[in-house]
Subunit: 354 residues, 2 copies
């Protein structure tokens, strides 16, 4: 072992109280998405790489489908970059199923060191943060961050089996059936592109767990909005940035209800961000023609929208700087039945295409 012990005074890549910077510019080298038929019919449909013909995708159980989707998205993400499994230092995965079986069963067929993360629907951001820290620290040269969610597995896990046909209130969101993976590595070594600018991960703001007393699992937007506002406002503060300097600030899956609350709260804190505040749950589906109530949600909602929408806009030069702030609702069926409120978290990742 090559060992030295330099004098350390502080965390030099930490910015402000809760933010991190990545001066070595880890980049999104490649992406791959697998989505369900409904997402395929949505506004981003033709930007998804694989659209499944049905919710089973050749499996007999939805949980197996979800694992298969994630496994495929990881494998194709690697091969799209012109690489193979042995070139990848780690896979970092997350999903919503109990004991994260979507991830674990996807990873068992992949011979790459594995780290499992759980921040519910903010897991994509947590994975990107860990991948970027490990890149910056000289640990993982290339890591794949992959997350998955599946409407049918999530509904029977968190609420009711969909076969029951339980009516959902207007504030309920629709868990997206998507698996999305991104390869984080050296942008300059990027292969397979045709002159498009790479997307760099330049910074991040790590979320705290925030619970404001909201208890309704059919209204997660209200439960998660305070966490989103906390992290986004902390991000602006830590980096000394003005909302106008971002082309878009995109929350994970607050949906219609949470998006309004977040915009109001951010405005009350002095951040005039409403005109550029978007939400992945509102981008993924067309709410006028698709019956998703308040919008999309799910661990892969933000990841899918990143791959199929944000990355496209950044590669085309339309957007240069984007803050993606996936939000996670950290309850479980057990905590809900025990009368507990819903804690939430939001991690924000700063992307730049310059």
């Amino acid at each position: 072992m090559n060992v030295y012990a330099p004098a350390r005074q502080a965390a030099w890549n930490k910015v402000g109280k809760r933010s991190l910077q990545f001066p070595s510019r880890p980049a999104i080298v490649s992406t791959f998405t697998v989505c369900g038929p409904m997402e395929g019919k949505g506004p981003l449909g033709r930007n998804f790489d694989t659209v499944m013909p049905d919710a089973f995708y050749g499996e007999k159980r939805w949980e197996k489908t979800e694992s298969k989707m994630l496994r495929e998205s990881i494998s194709h993400c690697i091969s799209r970059a012109g690489l193979c499994e042995s070139d990848i230092d780690a896979i970092i995965t997350g999903d919503l199923l109990s004991q994260c079986i979507g991830s674990s069963f996807a990873a068992r067929d992949i011979s790459i060191p594995h780290l499992g993360v759980y921040s519910a629907c903010a897991s994509f951001a947590e994975g990107l943060i860990i991948a970027s820290m490990s890149y910056e620290g000289g640990f993982f040269e290339r890591a794949v961050v992959g997350v998955s969610s599946h409407h049918e597995t999530a509904e029977r896990q968190f609420r009711f089996p969909t076969e029951l046909g339980v009516q959902r209130p207007p504030s309920a969101q629709w868990t997206a059936t998507i698996a999305a993976s991104v390869l984080v590595g050296d942008g300059k070594a990027q292969t397979g592109t045709d002159g498009e600018p790479p997307i760099y991960i330049r910074g991040a703001t790590v979320g705290e767990v925030i619970e404001m007393g909201s208890k309704d699992p059919f209204d997660m937007g209200t439960a998660m909005a305070p966490a989103a506002v906390d992290t986004i406002s902390r991000h602006f503060h830590d980096f000394g940035m003005n909302p106008k300097e971002y082309d878009a600030v995109i929350t994970g899956d607050l949906g219609y209800v949470g998006n309004q609350i977040a915009a109001d709260l951010l405005e009350s804190k002095g951040y005039a961000v409403r005109s550029r505040l978007f939400d992945c749950g509102l981008i993924l589906y067309d709410r006028t023609s698709q019956d998703v109530h308040a919008g999309g949600s799910g661990a892969a909602c933000s990841a899918g929208v990143f791959c199929a929408h944000i990355a496209h806009k950044m590669r085309s030069g339309e957007w240069q700087r984007v803050l993606l702030a996936p939000t996670g609702s950290l309850h479980s069926p057990t905590s809900y039945k025990q009368g507990e409120a819903i804690p939430a978290i939001c991690h924000a990742v700063l992307f730049e295409a310059v």
Copy 2:
């Protein structure tokens, strides 16, 4: 933002195929444990910091107890180091409950950025690895890694509610009721010690998910042993070390059955490690007087034994170099009922007290 873009060739802190080194020597600054009455009566009983008088600890539900234990262990771990919440850059937590509610509900009362990890009973090692990488990369100067498990919550989550009185086979293990937290930071800045040598985290080997067809959730030792052998042998290989150079190689919670399998398999691979191969699940309880069948298990089994046993032996100078290899069984009740085998993972962390 202070931004530069140095030329990067490779992951310089990566060792061999799957291992990492931490030349800046992140250290275990402080530890704190809360355990159940049964663990308090075991061989390590007087080394635990808080022994609860009963399994409820003033709460009405075991899940709330588990969160309370974890919250207390995190808070006391920080104050024992002479620090307060604002001194800590991140908490990294994991537990076994669905949607990791043990962790999330503990974290909602703590104003520190939060990262959730899931490697089942190997979560402690995953947390230490992420904390060490982030320390080395200049992101988190001090991070608390905390994990929890509770016998009653785990049994009703994974197998049967204990009130049913279902008989368990001899290969079954006993989920430990423990919450354990460690503060990872600068060893030289350590406070509150009386001249004892700090414990440094010098390296780690990240596990791959391995599934060998074992399907019995009452015999997790057999399911996890191949993952332990894979990671431990890879560790020796990557670092070019001989088992004799370690004072102890300690698996997480293979129990009696898995420990024998691991020793046999390692020997068949040419690693004569049997005489120094221990298991946290066998250290935690006295199997002759305590009815734990094949030994202890649980996300906090390895963390509790680290704090109450390994750290003591290292601080007293008895052990200088220890490899701790917590193992995790990545199944869920859903995957088990769907007839799936049990994937497993093992992450190894190298501690040195020199």
